[in-house]
């Protein structure tokens, strides 16, 4: 008996342990049995490969000696080194290549966000909550700037406002006898204005959506208590818009940090550098190490803004519980301000759509820029034959090259966008359904990363990684696949946001109802989830399509023989100095983006705001 006791004790504690590990096992088993867990694991592996690996390799290049830098660093290629860190953060040129540009970047990003909000939020209010004439039309039309490549704004700006500081052709202002001062023609002011114009659609989309979902009674309740319109706007509407505004600000911030073309075109004549331009200089002079360090800082800035966003959103969760049936939001009557409001909105449309598109279009119709005599106008660059431009002798619309490139653009970008949309929904599915919440959260973090990495840097990382076989995956460089993959990776941030919010809105019930009737997973997906999410899928596909069609930085580095895209075609034409034809190709790009989004919205009742996950 006495001998037995310790035995027994030991055995009970062992049993205890067995039970505990048993439950763990059991839990793991149950979790693994859920298809969402499996999908989650597969997705993590996939994005680990498509996103995390390139980002890490990019960041590592800032810490490792690059090929050819052995002499400078006194170490073998691949060794760890602090040389690049020191050069960026603590060298005689630090203030020129890093601290100054960093400050400028923050200045430009901050001001353009404020400007975009200052214009976008009131416009969103006009569009969603008032009797503004033509507000439905404006709701679509004011989104167009997002579909124009940002540098078309820069092109328009220089065409109109350039002055003698950059010599060459006369700007339009000069042509009519007024020489714009340098601060207006180049540098921070135009960059901020252009960023703001380009970003306003973000604000309009997200804030309009939020305002539409805001019960009208919240405003009326304040009205009943005697609050003036201004007080109501300041104390009720605006604070309630904060989550949407913050989301928009985060998206804009990351874009503003990474956008290179505008800052380059308009900054250079004023010697105004931002991080993306020094990054570009480093990449184009093959200083991968310095580029890695600068890219890391940019990623870090984006990550900080994202964290701020997440923090506020967590705090804002209490904003969302509005119980009970809420009345249709009623639209405020603008009264005698109707005309003024219409004028302002139309003005925004004019400045952000008509001016850039018009300038672009005019530049394809005028032989010599700025000369408005009738004889200077021509359709040659569109439909001409036997033009004197040796490398591209037909008009853009009759050239076989354009059509081939357009077809490549459509199928490759379309395919990438479709894949992106599906992956986005799957991420949403895992986030909402997976019994292990960490899996979903990890996926969310990973899929947002590409947004923080500037396109050129991302493409360079892809090139270094995927030129060689890695494990079971063959070398992808040289195939169209790598282009499609990087487009998919690059557009995941929006797609996964859209997927998560669509799945959250759908909730568990429809699928659970089918489950309770004995439907297996594949059937549930096929007959319930996917059909219900058709329009969400279209929305999640739309944004990747739009930005894929105009995206340049990714493809220019990864383009392969025989896969000319419209963007690469336009770059080739610019190389030749055929700006007319190059701009005409850009017009075609804009047209495809516009038509594509119009068609998707028509066919699938998708909407862009849903595509942003708003």
């Amino acid at each position: 008996m006495a001998v037995d006791t310790p035995e027994r004790e030991r055995s009970t504690s062992r049993e205890h342990l067995a039970i505990r590990t048993g439950t763990l096992h059991y839990r793991a088993k149950v979790a693994l049995r859920h298809p969402a867990t499996l999908i989650g694991l597969v997705l993590i592996a996939l994005f680990g490969y498509l996103i995390v690996a390139p980002v890490i390799s990019l960041l590592l290049s800032g810490l490792q000696v690059g090929f050819g830098d052995e002499a400078k660093t006194g170490a073998a290629a691949g060794d760890f080194t602090g040389y690049y860190l020191e050069r960026v953060f603590d060298s005689p040129v630090s203030s020129i290549i890093f601290y100054g540009p960093l400050l400028n970047t923050l200045l430009v990003a901050g001001s353009s966000i404020l400007l975009a909000l200052a214009i976008g939020v009131p416009v969103a209010w006009l569009l969603s909550r008032t009797d503004l004439p033509g507000r439905r039309w404006f709701s679509g039309a004011l989104i167009i700037p997002y579909m124009l490549p940002a540098w078309t704004f820069a092109l328009a700006w220089t065409t109109i406002f350039k002055n003698r500081s950059s010599a060459g052709q006369l700007g339009w202002m000069e042509a009519i006898g007024w020489e714009p001062p340098n601060w207006l023609a180049y540098g921070p002011l135009p960059i901020v204005v252009i960023f703001a114009l380009h970003f306003i659609p973000f604000v309009i989309l997200l804030v309009t959506n939020a305002m539409k979902n805001l019960p009208g009674e919240l405003d009326e309740a304040a009205k009943m208590l005697g609050a003036t319109p201004w007080t109501r706007w300041r104390r009720i509407t605006l604070p309630l818009m904060r989550p949407a505004v913050l989301s928009a600000a985060t998206l804009m911030f990351a874009k503003a940090i990474g956008e290179f073309g505008v800052a380059y075109v308009l900054g250079m004549p004023a010697g105004f550098q931002v991080l993306s331009t020094t990054l570009y200089q480093s990449i184009s002079t093959q200083q991968a190490g310095v580029a890695g360090v600068i890219a890391a800082v940019m990623v870090g800035l984006g990550a900080i803004s994202l964290m701020v966003d997440i923090r506020f959103l967590r705090e804002a969760r209490r904003f969302t519980t509005l119980s009970g049936r809420s009345g249709a939001s009623r639209s405020a009557s603008l009264g005698r301000w109707r005309g003024v409001a219409w004028g302002a909105t139309a003005g925004l449309f004019f400045v952000s759509v008509i001016v850039p598109l018009g300038t672009l279009l005019l530049s394809t119709l005028m032989r010599i820029p700025g000369n408005f005599s009738a004889s200077n106008f021509t359709l040659d660059y569109w439909i001409g034959h036997d033009l004197p431009t040796a490398g591209f002798t037909s008009g853009v619309l009759v050239s076989a090259q354009t059509w081939a490139a357009a077809w490549n653009t459509i199928w490759m970008v379309g395919l990438a966008a479709g894949i992106t949309g599906i992956l986005g929904l799957l991420v949403g599915y895992v986030v909402v359904r997976c019994p292990v919440p960490r899996l979903g959260n990890t996926l969310r973090v990973i899929t947002f990363m590409p947004y923080l990495v500037p396109g050129i840097a991302f493409a360079v990382a892809y090139l270094s990684l995927f030129a060689v076989p890695r494990g079971p995956i063959p070398a992808l460089y040289g195939t169209a696949a790598i282009l499609i993959l990087i487009m998919v990776a690059d557009e995941m941030p929006f797609a996964s946001r859209a997927g998560v919010s669509a799945m959250m809105q759908l909730g568990n019930e429809p699928e659970e109802a089918a489950q309770s009737l004995g439907a297996r997973w594949s059937r549930r997906m096929r007959t319930i989830v996917i059909p219900l999410q058709r329009s969400a899928l279209a929305s999640a596909t739309l944004l990747p399509f739009i930005s894929g069609v105009q995206g340049l930085s990714l493809v220019i580095i990864l383009a392969t023989p025989g896969t000319q895209l419209l963007t690469t075609l336009s770059m080739t034409l610019i190389d030749f100095g055929y700006t007319h034809a190059a701009n005409a190709v850009v017009v075609v790009i804009c047209a495809i983006a516009l038509l594509g989004s119009w068609a998707t919205q028509r066919l699938f009742r998708s909407n862009l705001a849903a595509g942003l996950g708003g």
Binding site: I56, G168, V265, D575, G577
Partner: protein, 387 residues
């Protein structure tokens, strides 16, 4: 606690993947150096016919070059020899990245690689045996010593240019003039900080143009140059940077800045010879600044090499040979590039390059290592001086 876990997972996944990548990076050794596979030796008896026969037995080739003219060249090569060749336009920086990765992966796409970044070629691609330089035996005599290691295909001249609508003759007579107040904000050229070609040119000036620069200084100001900088070249570059030049994204833009008509006070510019065709195509009024002391312009070399791991070494060699003949290189030299084969007569071009050959600052392969080592130095000098 809980909140941090997703990040931790992400970090761990990332690290694991990173480690994996690193190890595979380090492991992939470049392909073995080439054995002399067939006909044609750099020095010994070269037989073109044998090379052609051997080449025709091989597969198709792909050629990287920084100009889209390469597409035409490749087509004409195919037409002439019946060997399928594809020309792909690839910028120097991309070409280096691509060639490196292709070689490491043993997945060679570009069989022939023409690269305008000679210092990188010399310091990155050649020592790692990713590519090799091969001079056709029958042409070795015609190629200057300074251009044969690595083999230069063409040099690309740029000229100091002025607007002929406003000025009858060049407003400057000495490149030191360009650093004076008269030319403040009045010289347009491509932003050198983002372009290796310019940085290398500065370095070459220091290495091979010191004498001429000092002499020219004396001519311009009537006194000896005294400077705290390392060299007359550095002094010139610093003064130029400080003189608020008009920096453009491309040579094309610089040609517009200088040559667009209707300007009252157009700047001068440093413009690639090819851009002089804008005189015809766009009606620009451009003239080469003849008589500018000590040089009217500079040249930038473009090397041509063969990928070590190519499956078609003979076809590649044949293409290199072809690119050094008048017929082969015609698409490129027609707009003002200069073949390294001195036997080829320079065709007429809008910049009339043939007439200025002797007045150009010539690039010398002997400076490649210095150029490579000093890029950051010149970049920093430009940045600090222009600030």
């Amino acid at each position: 606690m809980k909140k941090h876990q997703p990040h931790r997972i992400a970090a761990i996944t990332g690290l694991a993947l990173g480690a994996l990548l690193l190890s595979s990076c380090a492991g992939s050794a470049p392909a073995a150096p080439p054995e002399e596979q067939a006909a044609g030796d750099s020095t010994g008896d070269f037989n073109l016919q044998e090379l052609v026969t051997a080449a025709q037995a091989e597969g198709p080739i792909t050629v990287y070059d920084s100009t889209s003219k390469i597409e035409t060249m490749a087509e004409e090569f195919t037409e002439k020899y019946g060997i399928e060749a594809t020309g792909v336009k690839v910028d120097a920086a991309e070409a280096i990245e691509k060639v490196t990765r292709e070689a490491q992966a043993g997945n060679v796409v570009g069989d022939v690689v023409a690269i305008s970044d000679l210092p990188a070629l010399k310091n990155q691609l050649l020592p790692n045996s990713f590519v090799y330089s091969w001079v056709p035996g029958d042409l070795a005599e015609s190629i200057p010593e300074s251009m044969s290691d690595p083999l230069v295909m063409i040099t690309d001249p740029s000229f100091f240019a002025y607007n002929t609508e406003v000025h009858d003759t060049c407003p400057a007579s000495n490149i030191w003039d360009l650093t004076t107040e008269e030319f403040t904000g009045k010289l347009a050229f491509q932003d050198p900080v983002g372009d290796n070609g310019y940085l290398d040119w500065f370095s070459q000036l220091e290495g091979f143009g010191e004498e001429e620069l000092r002499t020219a200084y004396r001519q311009a100001f009537g006194e000896e140059l005294e400077t705290d900088q390392d060299s007359a070249a550095a002094e010139w570059v610093a003064r130029l940077a400080a003189n608020n030049p008009i920096l453009t994204k491309s040579s094309e833009e610089a040609s517009e800045a200088v040559g667009a008509t209707g300007q009252e006070d157009p700047p001068m510019g440093l413009i690639s010879s090819a851009k002089f065709r804008n005189i015809d195509e766009k009606g620009y009024t451009l003239g080469v600044c003849e008589g500018l002391s000590p040089w009217v312009g500079k040249t930038a070399p473009k090397g041509i090499t063969i990928a070590t791991g190519t499956d078609s070494p003979n076809a590649a060699k044949l293409f290199v040979h072809y690119a050094l003949t008048a017929e082969g290189i015609a698409p490129q030299i027609n707009d003002g590039k200069i073949s390294s084969n001195t036997d080829i007569t320079q065709p007429a071009d809008p910049a009339n390059v043939g007439a200025h050959l002797d007045a150009l600052f010539q690039f010398d392969n002997a400076g490649l290592d210095t150029d490579w080592a000093n890029r950051e130095k010149w970049q920093d000098l430009w940045r600090t001086a222009s600030n």
